[in-house]
């Protein structure tokens, strides 16, 4: 069966510090991979998605970036965090035109 791992569960970072969140998927090949952010009072906002190794599509211009160095690995990064980057970050995977399966999320607090 397929599983998705996302870590860390919580993270507290100072403004201006770098960020690296990692997500890995097991039990499937060539999945579509996604990063969403959920802020208080807002819906899930799509940040990036990837349909293959090295292929990244950005939905929202910001100081975040994503990379997919391996088929089942998706990384969200920032060189310098802003206060507005605080939120609940969710990694997800799915097949094209199918439902998404979400990880357990990372609660990021930028202070």
């Amino acid at each position: 069966s397929q599983t998705i791992h996302q870590w860390p569960a919580t993270l507290v970072q100072p403004v201006g510090s770098p960020l690296s969140l990692e997500c890995t998927v097991e039990g499937t090949s060539n999945p579509n991979l996604y990063w969403y952010r959920q802020a208080a009072g807002r819906g899930l906002q799509l940040l990036f998605y990837s349909v293959g190794i090295g292929q990244i599509s950005s939905e929202v211009p910001q100081n975040l970036s994503a990379s997919r160095p391996q088929d089942r690995q998706f990384i969200l990064s920032s060189k310098k965090l802003l206060l507005s980057d605080s939120g609940f970050y969710l990694c997800a995977w799915g097949a094209t035109n199918e439902k998404l399966f979400f990880g357990s999320g990372t609660q990021l607090s930028v202070l």
Partner: protein, 109 residues
């Protein structure tokens, strides 16, 4: 303008008091409509996918229906363990799901 709107934002029910949650969307060319349940501090958990008007899906006390511009999630005789945020998402084109802000449901004993 939001493409997906959920109502109400919050709903409080007594145990056993049935009700419905609404999800409406404004863009044509729907490829699929998805319902998720999200518990606090956790990732959304998939419930249903609906693809065409008139389609219905059921799971325990939940029943999802779809019309041309909206979907309903009916909750029959809810229990306290049904308390959660229910998210609706639609897929119009491409690969991503567009989510509504959710309905926070609280079921009291």
């Amino acid at each position: 303008e939001d493409q997906v709107t959920q109502s109400p934002e919050a709903l409080r029910l007594q145990e056993g008091e049935s009700s419905s949650l609404n999800c409406s969307y404004t863009v044509s060319g729907l490829r699929g409509l998805f319902w998720y349940r999200q518990d606090p501090g956790k990732g959304p958990e998939f419930l249903f996918t609906l693809y065409s008007a008139g389609e219905e899906k059921e799971k325990e006390r939940l029943k999802a229906t779809l019309t041309k511009k909206e979907s309903f999630l009916h909750i029959t005789a809810p229990k306290p363990e049904d308390s959660a945020t229910y998210l609706c998402a639609v897929q119009f084109s491409g690969y991503a799901l567009n989510f509504g802000k959710g309905t926070s449901l609280l079921v009291t004993p």
